[in-house]
């Protein structure tokens, strides 16, 4: 699913803050570079930029503020990291109006990002389901949802995914010149007793014979799931339940590519200004990051068969 020029844009999202998006962006990026790829990490968390801290960079001397305010081109803002083949575009952390960046400016930014030279461009998105974040997520070739095994994270993830789906549906209806029709159904959804998203979308699609288009868009969405911060074996099952629910209720085919244990060493590395996977290369969680990257590259999934053995949910 890479662009024509062999470049793959990967976005890390998931709705909740602190689930490990920046951690996985940086450390998976390093794993990709170790496989001989040219990797560019982009801090697309406007208003909460901190990707540089995961890369052992104290204060970036160049950052996206220079792009937004001083019109410096992106390729001049890339900072090399101590890892071979990994460059970083540090976030817009010097401006304090970033949360309300002009929409057009953002579009321009993402157009320019797509043109940068790299095999993999990894986008570290901010928390929340703001349409800016969601739209960025949707433009990526590969979409990764980073979740934690807790109710809040799962709640936010579903909200994030549903927002993605609504954006896709609106886009479809707009392309068909039917945006107003969809919005009319949307605003009268209660009178029509459409109690949930699935019903709303099914009803609208049926009204205009767009079922196939919608199904196609949903199939195309196909995100990856990574469960981070698991503390006990059964926590990993959240990846399966999310995958199953997304499939059975929303018609989305997600892939569960890996899980990662909660590890105090990660915070420890960052506090000491180190890069985790360099700092503790032999730790179990470092191995898990490598495994996730491998699964991602090889299109492998976690299988229920291997993981359930003796680790099942307690009834």
């Amino acid at each position: 699913m890479a662009n024509g020029n062999g470049k793959t844009v990967i976005a890390f999202g998931g709705g909740k803050g602190g689930t490990g998006k920046s951690f996985l962006t940086s450390n998976m990026g390093i794993c990709l570079a170790r496989r001989g790829k040219k990797v560019l990490l982009v801090d697309a968390d406007f208003g909460g930029a901190n990707l540089h801290s995961f890369l052992g960079i104290r204060t970036p001397d160049r950052c996206l503020t220079d792009f937004f305010e001083n019109k410096i081109s992106l390729d001049q803002l890339i900072t090399p990291t101590i890892c071979k083949g990994v460059g970083v575009l540090s976030g817009d952390f010097r401006s304090y109006t970033a949360g309300v960046l002009n929409h057009n400016l953002k579009l321009k930014f993402f157009r320019h990002v797509q043109k940068l030279e790299a095999d993999y461009i990894l986008l570290d998105l901010g928390a929340g389901s703001h349409h800016n974040t969601v739209d960025t997520f949707l433009t990526a070739d590969k979409k990764i949802l980073v979740i934690n095994p807790d109710r809040i994270s799962i709640e936010n993830m579903y909200h994030f995914v549903k927002t993605c789906l609504i954006r896709e549906v609106v886009k479809l209806f707009t392309n068909m010149g039917r945006k107003e029709d969809f919005l009319a159904i949307y605003s009268s959804r209660e009178q029509l007793s459409l109690v949930n998203l699935r019903e709303l979308i099914d009803y609208s699609a049926e009204q205009f014979g767009m079922q196939d288009l919608v199904a196609d868009a949903f199939r195309h969405f196909s995100p990856y799931i990574i469960v981070n911060k698991i503390r006990r074996d059964k926590d990993m099952m959240v990846g399966f339940s999310s995958r199953s629910i997304l499939r059975k209720y929303l018609g989305i085919h997600a892939q569960y590519i890996g899980f990662l244990g909660y590890d105090d060493h990660i915070c420890d590395s960052i506090n000491r200004g180190k890069i985790f996977i360099h700092d503790f290369p032999t730790l179990h969680s470092a191995e898990e990051v490598k495994q996730i990257t491998e699964n991602f590259m090889e299109n492998r999934q976690i299988s229920l068969k291997t993981s359930i053995n003796g680790r099942k949910r307690t009834f």
């Binding site: 579903y158 109690v195 099952m237 399966f240 199953s244 629910i245 209720y249 229920l304 003796g310």
Partner: protein, 175 residues
């Protein structure tokens, strides 16, 4: 069963076509559990979870499982095990009960041994309650727990109830 139907059942259990009996069984137990009760991973989508939809999902899962077991076990033709009625009615988890539960799931002992790394001999002794042939208590408890988890039954109950019988036998020997 034709190809299309077969792949639909695999799809329902979220498996690759051609997955084996064990994978089918695991997926069945997992999904049935997931959609039959509330848990922290399903509550956040409550809104999407209308009881009707949920009921039809559970029904599909049951049907897919039954069809796939019948397909994968030649001459099996039996009923899908239904733990909600049968297993919960187990009065006491003794060797005989474990054997019956295993047989109802169409699993042979060799399969259990391969998956759990418990020797075939010990498994036989556990089911036959041939207590003198069993390893020391600590090992036995571990084996029972592993075996119970493999069968998807309450491992705590299995260990407690089986060990009560084992203890009774030990006491008899002392007298």
């Amino acid at each position: 069963m034709d190809e299309k139907e077969l792949s639909r059942h695999y799809e329902t259990l979220e498996l690759e076509p051609g997955a084996d009996l064990r994978a089918v069984r695991n997926a069945y137990y997992y999904l049935k559990d997931l959609y039959s009760q509330d848990s922290y991973d399903t509550v956040p989508v409550q809104e999407e979870f209308l009881d009707k939809k949920r009921g039809s999902i559970v029904k599909e899962i049951e049907e897919a499982y039954q069809a796939l077991v019948n397909y994968l076990v030649p001459g099996g033709g039996g009923q899908a095990p239904d733990d909600s009625t049968t297993f919960l009615q187990v009065e006491i988890f003794d060797g005989k009960a474990l054997r019956e539960i295993r047989e109802s799931q169409k699993i042979n002992l060799r399969e259990v041994s391969l998956a759990t790394h418990i020797s075939l001999e010990f498994l036989k002794y556990i089911e036959a309650e041939h207590f003198s042939g069993l390893p020391p208590e600590v090992y036995l408890k571990g084996y029972l727990k592993t075996y119970a988890e493999y069968l998807h039954v309450d491992s705590e109950r299995v260990v407690t109830e089986y060990m009560a019988r084992y203890d009774a036998w030990t006491r008899e020997g002392e007298q």
